[in-house]
Symmetry: D2
Subunit: 432 residues, 4 copies
C-alpha cells in the first residue's frame, strides 16, 4: 500500500449497487472498525510508533473524514463540517483537498481524544445512513460510499499492523488480545512445483463488481513458461536459511538490501527474538514460540528475494501469481477476530498452488507500476493510487488480518522493499 496506506480508488463501473445493500455493508464495516479498537485503551489508540504507522484513533477518524469529505460534502452544498479543523487534521495525503497535518506527528494529536472521535464517527454514520435510507445519493456518490468501505477495510488491516508495531516496543510485550486460540504445529506438506499458464494471457480485473483502479484495465500479457511452488515458505524452511548464513552472505542479497541488513543488523524476521529455547515471535497474542509449519511472516522484499536466491529459485511475477489464483476465494468458518495469525486453515493441498489467500501477503518481483492504459481519475480521488507508483513492490494474496471480504485474485497491494511490519512472506517460483 501507499505510505499512507489508503491508496486504492475505484473508477465507477456500473453494477447493481443499491443504497439498501450499501447501508447494510456500511453498518457492518463501520462496526467492525470499532470492534477492532474495543480492546484498546485511549493511550493505546493514540500513540504512533514510527512515521510510517498511524495511531488507531487516527485511522478511526481518517476513515470517517473520507465519508464526510467525499460523500457528505459532495452531497449537499453548504454542508457544515463536524469540526472544521478535522479537514486538515485527518487528511492523509490528498493535496487537492488541502493541507495535511504532518504525518510523523500524528501521535502528538492528543485532542480530539478517542471518545470524541467515536462521537465523530457516530455523527457521520448517522448522516450517511439517513441519506442511504432515504436514497438521496447519486450513483456516483453511491460508488464513493462503496469505495469508502473498501478504504475502511484497508485501514482495518493497518490498525492491526500498526498496533503490533507499537506494542512490540513495550518491553512488557503486551498482547492485543489474550483470548486467542493457542497455535498448533501441523504437519508440513512437501513443497511441490506446478506449471502456470503461459503464452498470451489476460490479467487484471474484468470490471464486474468493485475493484480499485490500479487493478485495471484488464489486458493481455505474454507469460513465459514457469513453475509456482505449491505453498508458502514456512518458518521451518526460513530457519534453515538463517542457519545456512542467510543473513551473513552478501552474495545472496541485492546490494541495497545487503546495505540495509548491515545497517539495521537484521538477523531474523522483524518480530522474532532469540531465547534460550529457540526463536520466539511477537504477535497479536503476545510473545510465543515460532510455529514451524506456519508461513514465515514480517519479512521485507529484500529478505524474500535473498531467500529465493538461496533456494535456487526466484520470486513470482504478479501476473504468474494472478493466473494461478483461481477464484472464488475458499470459504472458512472463522470470524476475522479469530484469525489474527497465519493459520492456513482454509488452504489445503490440492491439484495446484494453495495457501493463496488469507495467510500472509506474498512479495512478488514486480515493481508497482500502472497497467497499460491506466489513467487515474480526475479530482482528489485520482490521488488514491496512481501517485504511489514508484519504488514499491507488489504483494499479492492477503493476510490473516486482511478482512475476508477484501481479498480477491486481482488485488494489488504494494510496499517499499524495506517494509517489514506487515504480515508479509513469500512463495517461490522458477523458470520452466
Amino acid at each position: 500500500m501507499a505510505l499512507e496506506s489508503d491508496s486504492k480508488r475505484t473508477v465507477p463501473r456500473a453494477g447493481a449497487l443499491t443504497a439498501e445493500k450499501l447501508a447494510a455493508d456500511f453498518r457492518s464495516v463501520r462496526g467492525r472498525s470499532e470492534a477492532l479498537a474495543a480492546p484498546l485503551s485511549p493511550e493505546d489508540s493514540s500513540a504512533q510508533s514510527m512515521a510510517d504507522a498511524s495511531p488507531t484513533k487516527w485511522h478511526l477518524a481518517h476513515t470517517t473524514w473520507f465519508f464526510e469529505t467525499f460523500v457528505l460534502e459532495g452531497s449537499e452544498p453548504g454542508y457544515r463540517a463536524f469540526d472544521s479543523s478535522y479537514r486538515t487534521l485527518f487528511n492523509s495525503y490528498y493535496n487537492s483537498v488541502g493541507d495535511q497535518y504532518p504525518r510523523p506527528q500524528r501521535g502528538l494529536l492528543t485532542r480530539p481524544g478517542l471518545a470524541q472521535i467515536l462521537e465523530y464517527r457516530e455523527r457521520i454514520d448517522e448522516g450517511i445512513l439517513r441519506r442511504l435510507e432515504e436514497d438521496l445519493f447519486s450513483p456516483e456518490l453511491l460508488n464513493i460510499v462503496e469505495l469508502g468501505l473498501h478504504h475502511e477495510e484497508q485501514h482495518q488491516e493497518l490498525i492491526l499492523t500498526d498496533l503490533l508495531h507499537l506494542l512490540a516496543i513495550n518491553p512488557q510485550r503486551p498482547g492485543y488480545r489474550l483470548d486467542l486460540a493457542e497455535p498448533e504445529t501441523s504437519e508440513l506438506a512437501p513443497l511441490t512445483w506446478h506449471p502456470g499458464a503461459e503464452g498470451i494471457q489476460s490479467i487484471g480485473h474484468p470490471g464486474i463488481g468493485f475493484c480499485f483502479d490500479n487493478e485495471g484495465p484488464q489486458h493481455e500479457t505474454l507469460v513465459a513458461p514457469h513453475f509456482l511452488a505449491s505453498r508458502l515458505v514456512s518458518n521451518l524452511e526460513y530457519q534453515e536459511f538463517m542457519q545456512d548464513g542467510g543473513y551473513s552472505r552478501p552474495e545472496l542479497w541485492l546490494a541495497e538490501g545487503w546495505a540495509l541488513c548491515q545497517e539495521e543488523n537484521w538477523r531474523a524476521p522483524l518480530y522474532w527474538q532469540e531465547a534460550e529455547a529457540g526463536w520466539k515471535a511477537f504477535g497479536l497474542a503476545g510473545m510465543g514460540p515460532v510455529i514451524p509449519s506456519e508461513p514465515v511472516s514480517h519479512i521485507s522484499f529484500f529478505e524474500a528475494d535473498a531467500y529465493a536466491r538461496w533456494a535456487d529459485a526466484r520470486l513470482p511475477l504478479e501476473t504468474e501469481w494472478e493466473l494461478s489464483a483461481k477464484e472464488p476465494v475458499p470459504e472458512d468458518n472463522l470470524a476475522d477476530a479469530d484469525r489474527l495469525r497465519p493459520q492456513s486453515l482454509n488452504s489445503q493441498p490440492g491439484s495446484g498452488p494453495y495457501q493463496l489467500f488469507g495467510d500472509v501477503w506474498e512479495w512478488t518481483q514486480s515493481p508497482y507500476q500502472a497497467y497499460p492504459g491506466y489513467r487515474p481519475g480526475p479530482g482528489a480521488l485520482g490521488e488514491y493510487n496512481g501517485k504511489f507508483m514508484s519504488n514499491q513492490y507488489v504483494l499479492r494474496g492477503g493476510s490473516c488480518v486482511t478482512p475476508r471480504r477484501h481479498i480477491r485474485s486481482t488485488y494489488r497491494n504494494f510496499f517499499p522493499a524495506h517494509a517489514r511490519w506487515q504480515w508479509s512472506g513469500l512463495r517461490l517460483a522458477k523458470d520452466a
Copy 2:
C-alpha cells in the same frame, strides 16, 4: 535542570525532620501532582512531544518509582515491587539502579496506562504513609522522603512545562485550563539600576533546612562592583529588540546561538505567533495576546544574551543574583493553580531589585559548575546533580509554575543554552 530534570540531591544535614510533619507534606505534595493531572485525558497524559520532554503519566510514575526504589526498597529487605518491570520503565537516569527505558520512546509506553499509574501511586503512598505514621523510618530514610518531595515538586513544574510544549503542537491550540483569569496589562515601572554587594561575599546554602547538594557548600567569593536591573525585561522591551533587528543582526549573538537562530529560523520567543493584530502567545490558557507589561518568557540563553548585548548590558552572574535576592520570599495570596502565567503580583517596586521569585526563571551568564569543595554523595542518589555539570547555564529565581514552597534564593536551576520550553526570561546587569 538536568535533561532528566530530577537532578538535585540533598546531603542529610540534620534538623527537626519529624515523621509527622513529613506525612502531612507527603499528602499535600503528592496530592498536588494528581491535581495537576486532573484536567488531562489519558491521551494527553501519554504523549511525548520531544526527547527532552516526558509524558505526564511518566512523571507521575517516575516520582512514585523514586519513593519505591529509594525509600521502600531501602526500608525492608525482601520488599516486593508493585511491578518488577517498572524498575526499568520509570528509572530516569540512575545507572546505579540499572538499565533505563530509552528516553525518546517514553511516549510509546501506552501501558501501564494512566489509571494503572494512579493505582501505583495509591499503593506506594499507602506504603510510605503507613511507615511514616508508625515512625518506622531511619533518619536517613526520612531525609530521602523529604528529598523525594522536593524531587516531586521539580516534576510538577516539568509536567506543566512539557505539557505546554505538547499542546502547542496541536493546531487547535487547546488550553490546559480554560478557567484561568484573563491577564491584564499593567503600568510598567521604569527600569532602574541598583548596586549590588561587592568584595568578598559568602554565597551558597547555609545548611539549615533542606537544600539540594548543588547549592553548597556555602563559600566565599570575590564580587566585582556591578549594578542589577530593578526588574525583569518585559515583553514590550523585548519587542523593541525584535523591531530593531534583534533576530537578524549576527553581531549581537554568540556564534553558536546565531547558527541555531538561522537553522531553526527563530524570530520571536518560542510560543509567539504573528497575527494581523500583532503578536500572540500560547500559554496554559490557550492563545492570547502578548501582554506588554509581563516579563518576556520562553527564550533561550542565546536570546537572553543577545538582548543584553543589544541593551548595552550583560547577564548577571549567579552570585550577583543570589546576593541581591534577600529572603524570605514574599508572600502572595494566590493558589499555585491560579498563577500559571508570569503575573508579578507579589513583586512590587521597592528599594532594590524586585520580581525575583515566581515570575520567570532568570538566565545568568554562569555555566553550571560545582561550587568549590562540592562532592556528590555515594550511591545512586549521588547521580542526582553532579553528573549534569557540563554545557549548561544556571537560571535563578523560579517561575510562575514553580511550586511556591520550592523557591529559594540559593536554588540553582540549569538548562542547556538552547532550551526555550521553560518559562525563562532575563534581568539585566552591568559593570559598575
Copy 3:
C-alpha cells in the same frame, strides 16, 4: 548505472576476439581515460563532492584495479600486486574480492596521489599489453579484458559526470575546458508522433559481439500500440512547463517525487541558475546561457515523469524505445572531446524518431529488472549488474559524454529516480 557505476558484465559469448585487436583497443581506451584527466590538477582529481560520486583519481585507479584483479591475478599464480593495499582501497563493491574502503570517504584518500596512480596505470598496462602481445591469455581472460575496456568506458562517462558536480560547487564556477566551441541555437523541428512496432516482438541483445549481461537474454515481449515522439524534449519546452507551475503543482508529480521536490526546493534542472537575463546553466565549458533548442538535461526521473504528465503523455517503456532505435548508430565526425554537450549534430529529422543516441540519456518508465531467464554469472564478476536490480529506472540511448563506441540500442543504463547529476532528459510517448 549502479551506485558504483561499474555494473555491467559480459557473459563470454564467442566471437573473433583476437589478442591483437584487443591490444589496439586497450591502448586507445586506456589512453582516452588519461586524456580526460589531463586538464585536471591533482586537487581536482582528488576531491569527492558527494557519496554517489568519486574522485577522478579514484576512477583512474579503480579501472586499473579491475585489470589487475580480474586479469593479471587470474593469469598467473603467485602474481605480486603493485601495492597490496590497493586491493581494498580501489575495490568498488565486489564482496567476493574482499573488503572495500568506505565509499563516502574516497575523497579523503590523498595518498596514493595522482602521480602514483598514473604510475600504477603504466605498470598494469605494461603487464596487460605484454601478455596480449605474447598472446598468453585464455579466451576467458580475453573476454575479461574486453569487459574491462567497456567497464573503463563507463567510468570515462562517470569521470565527466562526477567532475561537473564537483566544479559546480565552486562559486567561481570554473569550466573543465575553456576551449570548447560556443553552442549555437538552432531551429527546433516540430515534435511529431510515430507509431512503434506492436504485438509480439523480440528485444534484448542477440549475442553477437559484446554486450553486458543485463542486455540479455534476447526474448519476446508483447507490445501495446503506442506512439513515440520524434525528438527529445527541449529546454524551450521544459521552460514552458516551469512557467506553467510545473514545480509547484503536486497533481503533476508522483508522491515521492513531490516530497523530494519540496524538501530540496527544486525549481529547475540541477545545474540551472536564474539570472537577470534569464536562465543560465553550468556545463563543462562553465556557465552559459540555456540553449532553447538543446534537449533538457540533468533532470530526475521524477521531473521527467511530471513533465510527461503535464504534456498529457507518458514516458516510454524501455522496450518501446529499443524497438524504435534501429542501428547502426549514425556516424558523426566529432571527436569525443568536442562533444561534451548535447548538440544533436548527428540526429536529423527523418522518417522516424531521431536524436536517439549521444545527446542525453532518456528516462523510461521501466524499473530496472532482470530480463526473463537472466542469471548472473558465478564469482566476483557476477556482482557486476544483477545485484543492483531494485529501486532504479532504466535509461536508454547514451549522452554527449558517453564514449561513442559504447552506445548501442540494447544498452540498459540505470539510476535511482532522484538522480540528476547525469546528462539525463526525456522523450515523450503515448498510447495509441
Copy 4:
C-alpha cells in the same frame, strides 16, 4: 580555540612595535607556514576530513586573506584585491566582512589550487613587506600586522592538527614526516603534589607586549587552597585507568560524556589502536608504540574529567594553572619541526609543577567565559574571540605543535568538551 580556530584578538596596547622588527617577524612566521606545508602533495593539502577541520591549502589562504583584508584593504582606499572571489572563499567567520563559503565544503574547493595559493601568499607578502619597509603603516595597522602573525601561528598549529586527523583516515596510515627521531621511553618521575597560591590573586595578562583580548583584563580573583600535580598524566597511568574499566563505568563520567562515549564507542584516546603486542598510536611520524612515559594526548574534556574522578582528584581551574605557571617559558634547543610529539625535553622535575609548556594542552574545569570587564573591540576584529564564549572549556599550556613563540602563561585556548583531535591531555588538581 573557536570552531574556526582563529579566535584571538588583540586590543592595541602600545609598546615598541617597530615596522622593522615586524618585518623580520613577518618573514619568519610566514615562511614557517610554507615550510610546514612543504612535505605535502597538492592532494594532501586540499582534503578536509571533517567539518571542524580545514585543508592545509585553506589555512594558507585564509591567513593571507587576513592580511589582505584587515591590513592592505585598510591601508589604502581603492585597494584592488588579488582575486575578488577570495573575499568570500577564505573568510572564516567574520560576518562583518560579508558572506562565508560553507565551512563543511572547504575540501571541495579544488580551485584555487595549492600553487595559486602560494602565489597569492607571495603577492600579499610583497605588499605587506614593501609597506613595512617603507614604514607606511599607522600604529593601528602595525598592531593588526602583529595580530595577523599570532593568528597565523594559531593556524600553524591547526595545520598539523587537522592533517593528523586526515592522515589517520587513510588505512595506509602514512606519516607526515618520516625523518622524525624515534621516541624513547624515559623514567617517569613520581607524581607529587604542590600547594598553589591562594587568597586574592591577580590573573590575566598585564598588558605589556602582545596578548589576545580574551587574556585580559588583568583582575583579582579569590583562590581556594588547593594542590596541583607536579606533572601531566602519562600514557602509563592512563592505561591503568583503561584497565580499571575507565571506559565502561558510568559513575566516573559526566552524563553527557558517558552518552557520547557509548554512542561513539570510545575505548581509548583518539588515535590509539589495539594490536597484539599492546596499544599503538598514530602520530605525525606514522604508527608507533604508545610510549609509557609520554603524557597522554588526544583525549576529550570528558575523558580528562573521568580520569580525574577515577584518580580521586579533579581538573584544575584555569586560575590555579596560571598562578603556578611562572614565566619565562623554559628554553630548549629544539627546532619546532623536531618537536612534533610530546617529548617533555624541557620540562624537568623541580620545586614546583613542571611540564607546563609545550607538551600537551591541559584541559581545565573552567568554562570559557569573558573575564570581568572584558569587552570585544569594535568592527570585524571584535568577532575574533568574544563570540565563541559558550559551551567550550579552557585549555592551558601549549602543545608540542604550538609554535614556541606563541606559548605564554596567560594564554587561553578553548575547545568544546568532546574535541579530541588536538594534542590535549591533563594535569590533576585537588582541594587542600
